[in-house]
Symmetry: C2
Subunit: 410 residues, 2 copies
């Protein structure tokens, strides 16, 4: 193998190689001409870099040299990212369940494994081991080993610091939700980031969802508790502890209410109504078994026109609008994205919330939309971030098992 790219500090070669690799990460198959346009380098340079990146295992040259989009002239050599040059691992380590997504360097999901756990039945150490086992299962299912992985991002329902730890308040709950994932996975030789779940949800929306091409938006993760992730001027705003969007302060502002999420409130309110005997006999909500009396049932009943459900939705709508107006007003974002497991069923809720939002917003109201990423937002955000880690400085990673080009005699 040739001398490592960019041995001396300011190396142009290294910068150019990174730029080329970023181009490769962002495109499917490409030719030297494509890369020339994208990087501004000359053909000779691009081809030299491609050769080197092939040798190092990042790229491979395709056999079928000509694509179908043109016919004249000498066919261009075509390169593409090597399929298994490296894998990315994204983990959603939520209180009640753990999801691991394994993706390739293009961000395509290779494997996805979810397992539930009882948050009250595990110690922090057991939780960490559980998460590790889910990751192992996902890698096994993908036919991969630790060495295939370049980076790993873990989403936790807690603020995190630069080291990926959560040594903060809430009576140790935050720390118990983040029992040393950073060390756990760094020990495998991976580049690891541990990040707040709402922040990662925002990154998923930017890359794959409703945040595409929106320079400033907020993502409201709104199941049991509200949590917000902000992308402002195309940049994630995470704060000192990654606690931007932790909305516990809202508990203290009347008319805005607690930081309770839509899922929790819908369940609570419908049960209160039933216990108080306020549900009309005709309502489906009066007959459901208690353990099915949850947010999805309420939203479904409202969609079907049930008056009691509609009343609850209306209350939720006003509350959501207040929170959205405050966040959007303070941070000057253009769009609010409601994400999480409830997202697919909040259509009517958002419809009802928009007039309130219009009224509460100065000078103009943001868009209010539902995420299309369902309950995978956080996991997808984690792999998105893992991919970003690679994109930031690809050459700091070594791809798995470089190609053994024809062995050269010394």
């Amino acid at each position: 193998m040739s001398k490592p790219i960019g041995s001396t500090p300011p190396s142009l070669r290294r910068l150019n190689a990174s730029a080329l690799l970023r181009h490769a990460l962002g495109s499917d198959v490409f030719t030297a001409s494509d890369a020339m346009a994208s990087t501004g380098l000359s053909r000779a340079t691009v081809i030299g870099l491609c050769d080197e990146l092939v040798e190092r295992g990042w790229l491979e040259e395709l056999a079928d040299t000509r694509g179908d989009d043109y016919r004249l002239g000498r066919p261009a050599r075509r390169y593409t990212l090597r399929d298994r040059a490296g894998l990315l691992v994204g983990v959603d380590a939520a209180p009640h369940h753990v999801t691991t997504i394994v993706a390739d360097l293009r961000g395509a999901v290779v494997e996805r494994v979810t397992r539930r756990l009882d948050p009250d039945a595990v110690t922090p150490d057991e939780r960490r081991a559980f998460v590790a086992s889910v990751v192992d299962d996902a890698l096994d299912a993908a036919g991969a080993v630790d060495a295939d992985v370049l980076s790993c991002v873990v989403a936790v329902p807690a603020p995190t610091d630069a080291e990926g730890a959560s040594p903060y308040g809430r009576g140790g709950w935050w720390a118990s939700m983040n029992p040393g994932y950073a060390q756990e996975f760094a020990a495998r030789g991976w580049q690891v980031v541990v990040e707040n779940d709402a922040n990662l949800a925002a990154l998923a929306e930017r890359a794959l969802g409703e945040g595409r091409n929106v320079p400033s938006f907020a993502t409201l993760l709104s199941g049991e508790r509200f949590g917000a992730g902000f992308v402002v001027n195309d940049r994630l705003v995470r704060g000192s502890r990654g606690a931007t969007g932790e909305m516990h302060v809202l508990e203290l502002v009347s008319d805005v209410g607690s930081a309770d999420g839509l899922g929790l409130l819908a369940r609570k309110w419908v049960r209160e109504a039933r216990e108080a005997g306020e549900l009309p006999a005709g309502s489906v909500l009066a007959r459901l078994p208690l353990d099915e009396l949850q947010a999805p049932a309420v939203f479904a009943a409202a969609d079907a026109g049930d008056a009691a459900a509609l009343a609850i939705v209306e209350r939720l709508a006003e509350r959501l609008a207040r929170i959205a107006a405050i966040l959007a007003g303070i941070l000057d974002v253009d769009r609010m994205i409601v994400a999480g497991a409830v997202a697919p069923s909040v259509g009517l809720l958002l419809e009802r919330a928009r007039p309130y939002l219009e009224r509460f917003s100065r000078p103009s109201a943001p868009d209010l939309v539902a995420s299309t990423l369902g309950d995978s937002v956080v996991g997808l955000g984690a792999v998105t971030r893992a991919l970003d880690l690679v994109r930031e400085d690809p050459l700091s990673f070594s791809p798995a098992e470089p190609v053994q080009a024809g062995a050269e005699a010394p």
Copy 2:
């Protein structure tokens, strides 16, 4: 003069020259060895770059070659930023007054001119002309001409977009506060930025005030209306329209109140109390002429122990604490800085606000401090930003009147 630095696109030379120039902007006098340590370049390269930057008018070489800090060895050549290589202009274009600060490339204030105007007595065009005339006066006083200026930043009490315009709501008031400053000054060949005043105040605090070395903080500009500027993770968060921190939405949240600022509220409440006859006869506030019954008088009376003034301060304290808690909680900042003309007199107010803030904050309360920059914050923020513009890419500017080195025969 030699060929322009960095003629071919990816030029390392240009990057290195910029890095060296940034070093020069941040240090007083420096030697090649200093620059080598700062940039990582070799001596030969550094000296080559210094020669070139001297030739182009950015640097000058000092005559006294040896400083006093060492004695042995060959004395090092010493360089420094050329004093008048360029000037920076910062303008605080507030409703009632216009301040222009002229500074040199080290950020040192060279000249400062303030003039008052009556916001109701001028058309937008007249306002623009007025601001331009204040700038002219300041430059005249500094003995400078337009060509000496590299960049100019104008602070306006309005949101601004990327082009420096304010085509937004509030019944045209915002637009009237920003009547085309960008074009006005760009026509002089200056690099111009028009930015919201609270955002610039935050930049001033970061560079010169209570925000130094604090990675995340907010600056509350709190005279007639509240406006906030946020620096999170060492980066200004300005939002789509630069309207981050416009707090009109707070008008709709009860217990938090309007976006009225401390100055306005103190005046309003003390006058209400007097009209309602609630001021005890012993209070100094009962005897002051009405036009002196303003925030400073209230704060001064409170400092002296006046009970009526203390009651007002207590009310202000709770309100300030609520706003601070919400902003700090949502954005996860470590410190709130109260800035503006009232800043020097809010000591007691902040003292009273801290217990409230402690109570309202989860998990931990931010620092609450008063700015030390007084009523110059905004103007200083504008020059700070103007200097940042130069720092970002120094070589895109041409310093004024380059040195005429010994004329070479062609």
